[in-house]
Symmetry: none
Subunit: 235 residues, 2 copies
DNA sequence: GGCTTCTGTCATAAAATTGTCACCAAATGT
DNA sequence: ACATTTGGTGACAATTTTATGACAGAAGCC
């Protein structure tokens, strides 16, 4: 479980607990703003993935901060987990009403915390759904994670799928092997550039059917890299 | 307030109270069954709109009866209000967990009882019946809680049923193990993601008959998760 | 309380994917 | 034409991912 930034609002103990548990925090902050407006400002600056919001804040009301977060476009999509000191049903309901994604009752077990965070972050990835891309006789559907050539499903490995998806969303443009590694493999892996060649080959092969050869859509740009283009429609 | 039938379980005083209050009972019954099974049978016969379930029953446990009611398709949708003698938090939580619609602490005022009943019955109008889903030779009927392959009933565990139901209502789309855990198990449980694999296996096996193998409808999406798709019709 | 079924987790087997190489083919340059 | 560079291909061993059988504890059932 990794979260690029987690912002802890007014709860040092929670921070310690999370670190102990092994949650990988790229950064965190313990808010000590004197009012909801300041707190909101800090959150906007930090751009965390997740906010643990203590209901019982010393100065300002957690409820007001939550409302403010939900009102602002910049912070509207933030995942907010509310911490309630006791099993206070009223606060809980009120909080969920205003738009908290979840709540945890203190004291909470680290297992529970982790489970909730995981669940919340999983859920967030489900929110958006990508449209399927279609070009020539080729159709790529991100939802079902499949590729068709004229309604016939194709078979390919995960890397080939990602590669094709990248190409289809970046048509008519040449990419070097290095760029492809960055975009498809990720910028922090080290693999030989020639590896790209092999996967291009595999993708091309996967794009062949008895009727058509859509592998032709992937053109090699000698001395540079590869390009996905429709100017050579799959034969 | 009218209820065609109200069934009182093991609480004469409550009946008297309700009648005194003016609740229009089209009929009522005071259960004196010696065990949960008999009680369940009587309830099935009576088809009441509402069950007032006393937690402290002399012979059988109210909890078990409640569970039984929720498990049986015939009684699953019944409105159940739990009566707890004292403000017993544990029982209350346990009861709501198993699926009571509400609870009332004894002694209760007639006003409160009426209010709860009203609220509950309002809520109930929202409940709708689910239609059975059919795809390929597979038919899933939520009402009877059963699955057929060409009229032949299949046998599977509760989790497998829920999993299949989710898949059949979300076809042609890949889901990660985490998403499945959220959707089928619930977002607040923490189990290993590998557990999904095992249940997928069990479901696939359950979907096999001598004639067909509908387990093929569940496809694995390597590196991602699973997908329910008809493009590979059960052989 | 005894008995059966269901569940989650492991350990292990099986299968698919991946990154590299070595080697061949095509293109480029002189 | 020859030498050199760049891309295409098949093979392969390591690694990762999934499938499967076994099992103990939990939950349900009579």
């Amino acid at each position: 479980m990794t979260a690029s930034t987690i912002l802890i609002v007014d709860d040092e103990a929670a921070i310690r607990e999370m670190i102990r548990v092994g949650l990988e925090l790229a950064g965190y902050e313990c808010l000590e703003a004197s009012n909801a407006q300041d707190a909101h400002g800090i959150i906007v600056d930090q751009r965390p993935d997740l906010v643990l919001l203590d209901w019982m804040m010393p100065v300002t009301s957690g409820l007001e901060l939550l409302r403010r977060l939900r009102r602002d476009d910049l912070t509207r999509d933030l995942l907010v987990i509310m911490l309630t000191a006791k099993d206070d049903e009223d606060n809980r309901v009120q909080g969920l009403d205003v738009g908290a994604d979840d709540y945890i009752t203190k004291p909470f077990s680290s297992r529970e915390l982790m489970a909730r965070i995981k669940a919340i972050m999983r859920r967030s990835t489900t929110r958006e759904q990508e449209a399927s891309i279609e070009v020539g006789g080729l159709k790529l559907d991100p939802a079902s994670h499949r590729v068709f050539v004229d309604t016939q499903p194709l078979d390919m490995g995960p890397t080939e799928f990602k590669l094709l998806k990248f190409f289809m969303t970046h048509q008519e443009r040449a990419y070097s092997r290095g760029q492809l590694l960055d975009q498809v493999w990720g910028s922090n892996v080290y693999v030989e550039e020639r590896t790209v060649d092999v996967h291009i080959r595999r993708l091309r092969k996967a794009l062949q059917t008895d009727q058509r050869d859509c592998g032709l859509l992937i053109q090699t740009v000698r001395g540079t890299g590869y390009r996905f283009s429709t100017t050579g429609v799959c034969a």
